[in-house]
């Protein structure tokens, strides 16, 4: 496990060191990063050659209370993915080192790329679902940064955000699914989960968990209907497209499906839903690929379509199907990575990627074209390339899926073959349309094959793709078998990969696919201009973003007015509505009859005076009138306190009221009198609202009367006032003795208020 840990840490260490010790545009950054990637690859390779250790896990605690740990798992499946990631990584890093222009921010680029590589290795080596999620989101972020690397381009920024929004959302859905799984099974460790699948199956959360995890997988792998982010992500620098969006990141979804297959495939919907999604994606996106004029767009859709193929295989959770999917995954990483890099070379030399604008590649760039054609033919499934074998295996498995899906699979293969031929032969023949020729020839010099430093990487990958066809068993047999063992535990598959299977229905289907594909290419594709159809899903995404923004704006404008009285109105309305709702929904208690004491005449008089004073305050047209009525209301309130058996309160109220009125008057001296806008007539709406709220509040208190359910603490005070504190005025005793802390607090509030007043006054206004 040591090797695995080193392989995982190296990219992160590289990113940090690069950041610390390298100049922003250092030419060496790329080579240093390649070194780290290479070392990481060697570590993975040594782990793979050393065989799978038992037990294949390493436990590193993170937050044990939450079952969060960074435990590592290195079984056949992890190693297969890790080998792809690190091997393609080395090729892409070295390619990028030669590819980026000297003026670009290389340090940043390679930091992001190393970060991504580390995160991706983390995804496949995580043994804990939550750790897997952590790395999963880290790949989304680094992909965001890499897609937006050329941030001066509007399309780049748009694509970066779109990719992040979709994959990160899917990731969160997946997290929710993981949490459900973890809560049901009591662990987040994948090896332990394997034995507890039945717990999940018995739980009502099985279905939501399945759907959520599928959401995570298909957003990451850009499956239908979330395939929209991948084409726009092609704005990234080409090495990024080759690495993230062909060979590795988009395969994280596949990894997830393979990894969780043993746990999830017995659950309803998992296999059928993923199979249908996979096949549908494969057919639909290979059709869309045929209609692209941009080479990278074509490759993007072809990637999505191929991922669909692999997805449908891995979802079946049968050893043969898994073997087909995983072997195709290896092939795909090799030829698709190479194809992207080659398109990058073409763009680098010819300054365009448009099928219609490119000149006759075979003459201008023969070596590049040869590699391109080989890669495309491998994808088409042409013997003796690796793609042929895996396509055969796929078709053989597809025949098990029932007539409709089998037919669709063959149709997908036909479409695939068609765009592959287009890629291999169509581009090279310099098929030009009018209008485009002008731009193509305007370049200073004709494009030509690039320096070896740009060609050896794709060349190596194509060689691998070729070798996969010639020596499949010795190169990939053990690797695939080990991975299948992990993806479908307990299977006893006798895997033998070979180029020649003998005559079989599959071979016929293959031949049909290739033949019809060629016809489709020559009769249909060559006669029409690719039209780059706009995706419906794209429109939905844009529309949703716009809508969200405009709703947000509408809400903001309507209620975030910044005006205090509006805020108060809103709060009051909500309060009144909420309380009314409570009254409607709950049984309302009876008003208790209280010991009636008919008021004396002067009590009525005092009360009426108070009410009149309040009304006067509200309708006063001058400051002086308002302040004086406020004073009057305060003094009558003091009288009422006295009448209600609260002499202390009455005294305090009188004192406070006196000071308040004095203060009000002191401020008033400095202010001019109210002018018309301030003496506006009554506002009936506000009046109704405030009367409702005011009377409602009093009604509540009336309801509360007589409902006291416990003996009051007051008994204690009455009991002990004289006994413990030696004083007869209970209120005083409470204030200075029993609840002296309150009084202390009260004094500090006043003290702070005084300090605050002082500070406020000291902030002398500047006279302008």
């Amino acid at each position: 496990m040591g090797a695995v840990l080193i392989a995982l840490l190296l990219p992160f260490a590289g990113a940090i060191l690069l950041n610390l010790f390298s100049a922003p545009r250092s030419a060496r950054a790329g080579w240093v990063a390649s070194l780290f990637a290479g070392a990481s690859f060697l570590a993975v390779a040594s782990a793979a050659l050393g065989g799978i250790e038992q037990p294949p896990t390493l436990y590193l605690p993170w937050a044990p209370a939450l079952d969060l740990s960074l435990s590592l798992l290195a079984d056949g499946l992890s190693l297969l993915f890790a080998l792809v990631i690190s091997a393609v990584g080395v090729v892409v890093f070295t390619f990028a080192a030669a590819y980026l222009e000297p003026h670009e921010q290389r340090r940043r680029f390679f930091c992001y790329l190393l970060l991504f590589m580390g995160a991706m290795l983390g995804v496949v080596f995580s043994s804990n679902l939550l750790a897997l999620f952590v790395f999963w989101e880290l790949t989304s972020i680094s992909s965001f940064l890499l897609i937006g690397f050329w941030h001066h381009k509007e399309r780049s920024r748009y694509g970066a955000l779109k990719a992040l929004v979709i994959t990160a959302t899917g990731g969160l859905a997946m997290l929710l699914g993981f949490i459900m799984i973890g809560l049901v099974c009591g662990t987040f460790e994948i090896p332990e989960l394997l034995g507890r699948g039945d717990l999940l199956a018995a739980s009502p959360w099985a279905l939501p968990a399945v759907l959520l995890v599928i959401a995570g997988a298909i957003t990451k792998s850009a499956q239908f209907p979330f395939h929209l982010w991948l084409p726009t992500a092609m704005e990234a620098p080409t090495p990024v497209s080759a690495y993230l969006h062909a060979a590795t990141m988009v395969k994280a979804g596949l990894y997830l499906v393979a990894r969780l297959g043993p746990i999830m495939s017995p659950l309803p919907l998992w296999t059928p839903l993923l199979t249908v999604i996979g096949i549908a994606t494969m057919v639909w996106c290979s059709y869309l690929a045929l209609r692209q004029s941009d080479l990278k767009g074509l490759l993007a859709f072809s990637t999505v379509s191929q991922l669909g193929l692999i997805m449908s295989m891995l979802a079946a959770a049968r050893p043969e199907a898994a073997a087909a999917g995983l072997f195709h995954l290896l092939n795909h990483a090799a030829f698709k990575g190479a194809l992207f890099l080659l398109v990058g070379v073409i763009e680098h030399e010819a300054h365009t990627r448009d099928v219609c604008e490119l000149g006759p590649l075979r003459k201008q760039m023969p070596k590049t074209h040869l590699l391109l054609a080989l890669g495309a033919l491998s994808m088409a499934g042409m013997p003796p390339l690796g793609g042929f074998i895996s396509k055969e295996m796929f078709l053989e498995q597809a025949l098990h899926l029932g007539p409709l899906l089998a037919m669709l699979s063959v149709a997908g293969a036909v479409l695939t073959a068609a765009y592959c031929f287009a890629l291999a032969f169509g581009v090279g023949r310099g098929r030009k349309t009018e209008g485009a020729s002008a731009t193509a020839t305007s370049g200073a010099e004709a494009p030509h094959d690039p320096h070896f430093s740009l060609l050896w990487g794709p060349g190596l990958l194509i060689t691998v793709a070729l070798l996969f066809g010639l020596f499949p068993q010795s190169l990939a047999g053990a690797l695939v078998a080990g991975a299948v063992e992990a993806a479908v535990p307990g299977s006893s598959l006798h895997l033998h990969l070979s180029l020649w299977h003998g005559f079989s229905p599959t071979l016929a289907a293959s031949a049909v696919a290739l033949g019809s594909g060629y016809i489709l290419y020559s009769r249909w594709w060559q006669t029409r201009t690719p039209d780059n159809p706009l995706l419906v899903t794209d429109r939905i995404y844009d529309f949703k973003l716009e809508k969200l923004e405009s709703w947000s704006k509408a809400v903001t404008v309507s209620y975030m007015s910044g005006l205090v009285w509006r805020y108060n109105t809103i709060i009051l309305c909500v309060g009144v509505a909420a309380i009314s709702a409570v009254f409607l929904c709950f049984p309302v208690p009876q008003l208790q009859a209280w010991p009636a004491r008919s008021p004396l005449v002067f009590e009525v008089a005092v009360a009426l005076t108070a009410i009149a004073a309040v009304i006067g305050t509200c309708i006063a047209k001058t400051r002086l009138a308002a302040i004086l009525s406020l004073g009057a209301s305060g003094y009558t309130l003091a009288l009422m306190f006295a009448l209600l058996g609260a002499p202390d309160l009455a005294l305090t109220q009188i004192m406070v009221e006196t000071i308040s009125v004095a203060l009000f008057l002191a401020v008033f001296v400095f202010l001019p009198s109210w002018r018309p806008p301030e003496t506006r007539p009554l506002r009936p709406g506000h009046l109704a609202l405030s009367i409702t709220a005011g009377c409602g509040a009093c009604y509540l208190v009336a309801l509360a009367r007589g409902h006291r359910t416990a003996t009051s603490i007051a008994e204690f005070f009455i009991e002990n006032s004289a006994k413990l504190a030696g004083w007869h005025n209970i209120v005083n005793v409470i204030l200075v003795d029993f609840r002296g802390l309150d009084t202390l607090g009260e004094i500090s509030v006043l003290g702070i208020a005084a300090l605050a007043c002082y500070a406020a006054i000291k902030m002398a206004p500047q006279r302008s």
């Binding site: 910044g562 005006l563 009285w565 108060n568 009051l572 209280w594 010991p595 004491r597 009590e603 009360a607 108070a610 009410i611 305050t617 400051r623 308002a626 406020l630 305060g634 306190f641 209600l644 058996g645 609260a646 202390d648 309160l649 406070v656 308040s660 203060l663 008033f668 400095f670 202010l671 301030e678 405030s690 009367i691 005011g694 009377c695 509040a697 208190v701 009336a702 509360a704 009367r705 009051s712 603490i713 007051a714 005070f717 009455i718 004289a722 005025n729 209970i730 209120v731 409470i734 309150d742 009260e746 509030v749 006043l750 208020a753 605050a756 007043c757 406020a760 006054i761 206004p765 500047q766």
Partner: protein, 116 residues
């Protein structure tokens, strides 16, 4: 008597709330004053309003007359004093705002912000 007390507190609360919905700063401050007065009266009414004497024990210590709940009174005393502190500070701030801005119309003040 209790109805009377409730009616008075309702008047205080309604008046206070009404003024708080105004856009003139001084009125809002006055409204907060009325509101806290109304709350105090309401608080007092929770003590039962039983016909009883002030919560002062007879000098001898065994007067058996019912007395009203003293705790709300203590609470209200605190509330009155704090209410005063609040009013004083608010007035100071209002005064300062007026001095520097020459207006006490909350809408106008906010409008100026938007213009900036």
């Amino acid at each position: 008597m209790e109805l009377l007390v409730l009616a008075v507190s309702a008047a205080f609360l309604s008046g206070g709330l009404y003024l708080m919905l105004d856009r003139t700063l001084l009125r809002v401050v006055i409204g907060i004053g009325l509101l806290s007065n109304g709350t105090n009266l309401l608080l007092l009414s929770t003590s039962g309003l039983t016909p009883g004497g002030a919560p002062i024990l007879a000098a001898a210590g065994h007067g058996e007359t019912a007395i009203v709940d003293p705790l709300p009174q203590a609470l209200i005393l605190t509330a009155i004093v704090i209410g005063f502190g609040v009013t004083a500070l608010l007035l100071t701030l209002a005064y300062r705002t007026y001095q520097s801005q020459g207006s006490e119309d909350l809408g106008e003040l906010h409008g100026r912000l938007a213009d900036e």
